[in-house]
Symmetry: C2
């Protein structure tokens, strides 16, 4: 058994999170500083704060397990993997997985979903490492720190990304406990699908192809395809994985899929808006990149206010997908609100 | 259901392959031209020839399924994925998977193992695409053709590799049929492990770190670690995956693991020898690269003859691991012989 699953403190369910201001709200490194905390996002922030240590410990333990027995041979690659995993992410995707699992399986569901939560963060981190490479977005700065290839070199950065991607699947396969193996296989299929030609990688290729093209050549339909696959696919997989291991029905999974697709699209629109309006210091990465590469974005097609309005509309639609769950969906509703309230 | 599994012609089992010279033996693109065909390798070549079309069709169908519904958005990434999948590989790893599956499950075992066979070739192809990148080995030529990044650009090549890696897992999860899902989960764990810090990626990082170091700094022990993880790990996973889906016992899996570890090490030693002795035209890639980057290799540590002898010794040991299976292991025994008889 991997160390990941033992010793993780029992986590609160969505229904009994404390109402007091959580630690994350005052933690600049978590990127939640300055967010306008509505009552919905307060529940999310409490959940994030309650889960963050467990997720961080599980990520670390998963890397430990993958190099056991640890030796000098795995020192560099594991250091490169850990560097980006530890670089201060908000852990939004693991929170989505755990919150979805909590809705359908309570505390036991969340425990069963921790390997999947870890996996989606690994996939996300892999995509950041590879996107930052000189041949891609050529970014030196990520979450306020030097990017992986600046610290470890391009070759190691590419390989650390590959290793994180593979570890995501290995970890779900080896560390998920107490779940019908058919559901584990299903989760692994969903995770694989969100990275490939109709996921992160395909969305990113289309995004690269759209750079430098005029507004007439990149339509709203193309832009929506790009964001649905580049950004929303992993959020969908995060939610679906959590729900699936916790025993959700196909109908439940379909609702979460619709919710997360809309949240993902809103997330990307908000990102485009922040790229125009926020400073690099607040973003923790270089701002104004979209305009610098003449990229077609939602703000460019709809105007800043039009883009903001579209994001708000999507968030409302996303929340409506979860009406049937009432208060049990509190954290997921808060996550949707957080998307448009966040400042970085 | 994916198209992959239907319509694949029923394949011969290891026990009834034809003795006549197979098509592959006369096909230069398959890389078997000029090989000294012993009776053992004849069985392998017949097996490779009988399986190659089915594997190629299954690879293509797996990419089709991953982009369905196909549209202009997935045109570039799927073309880049197919370009390297179709670039004339010998399909040694899928053959290993299918031959192992045949030993334990006959024709039904091979059919169940086809998604795993496809997956190991995708993982292998991903590793070639990423290894050829300018930041890594910086190779323009692979299997006699321009490398992926020369044709599609570095950015798309990185993403096509990521997509192939993810598709390997997605495909095994979605397309494996008639197998206990616990065995499918086990295969997915094994496949993940062979890529990560103690697999391809970790082995490659150590290989990069050893470049330019003197003989005294890179010991035989380090070199063996590199090759065991960079090369043997995927061969082990290929054999273990085939055996596992076909119902092999833990004892069987342990034997195959030992066999494939030794075959993998012999394979890498033979590669090092060929890098010194063969021309770029015969290799289909740039020869003499190891010396150009001052790399410590088996020929450098043991001399050419010493390296050849070590490879032969490993092949004998590998074959001995399968003694218990008698003639049923014919193809796997042939594969071991092929490793040191091949000329490219």
């Amino acid at each position: 058994m991997l160390r990941t699953e033992s010793g993780v403190p029992a986590a609160s369910t969505a229904a009994d999170v404390p109402a007091a201001p959580p630690a994350a709200a005052t933690n600049g490194a978590n990127g939640t500083n300055g967010a306008v905390a509505s009552s919905g996002t307060k529940a999310l922030m409490a959940f994030l704060a309650a889960q963050k240590d467990a997720v961080d410990a599980a990520l670390d333990a998963a890397v430990d397990a993958s190099i056991a027995p640890a030796g000098p041979e795995t020192a560099t690659i594991s250091a490169a993997m850990r560097y980006s995993l530890r670089a201060g992410g908000k852990r939004v995707r693991p929170a989505l997985t755990l919150a979805a699992a909590s809705m359908f399986g309570g505390e036991a569901g969340m425990a069963a979903a921790m390997p999947s939560a870890v996996a989606v963060e690994m996939i996300h981190t892999m995509s950041l490492i590879h996107d930052d490479l000189p041949a891609m977005d050529n970014d030196d700065l990520r979450r306020g720190l030097p990017t992986n290839h600046i610290v470890y070199g391009e070759d190691v950065a590419i390989l650390a990304g590959d290793a994180l991607l593979a570890l995501a699947f290995e970890h779900v396969a080896k560390a998920t406990e107490g779940v019908d193996p058919r559901r584990v296989v299903s989760v692994l299929g969903v995770l694989g699908g969100c990275v490939g030609a109709r996921g992160l990688a395909g969305g990113q290729v289309m995004d690269l192809e759209s750079e430098g093209k005029g507004d007439g050549e990149v339509t709203m339909s193309t832009l929506t395809w790009i964001h649905t696959h580049k950004t929303a696919a992993l959020l969908v997989a995060s939610a679906v994985a959590g729900a699936t291991v916790a025993g959700a029905s196909e109908e439940d999974v379909a609702r979460l899929r619709a919710y997360a697709t809309k949240v993902g699209l809103a997330f990307q629109i908000a990102d485009d808006v922040l790229d125009v309006t926020a400073s690099s210091a607040v973003l923790g990465k270089t701002s104004g990149k979209d305009e610098a590469v003449n990229k077609v974005t939602y703000p460019r097609l709809l105007g800043l206010e039009g883009a903001r309005a579209r994001a708000e509309e999507l968030v409302s639609e996303a929340k409506a997908c979860l009406d049937v769950y009432g208060d049990k969906a509190e954290v997921l509703l808060g996550l949707a609100d957080f998307i448009i309230e966040r400042r970085n």
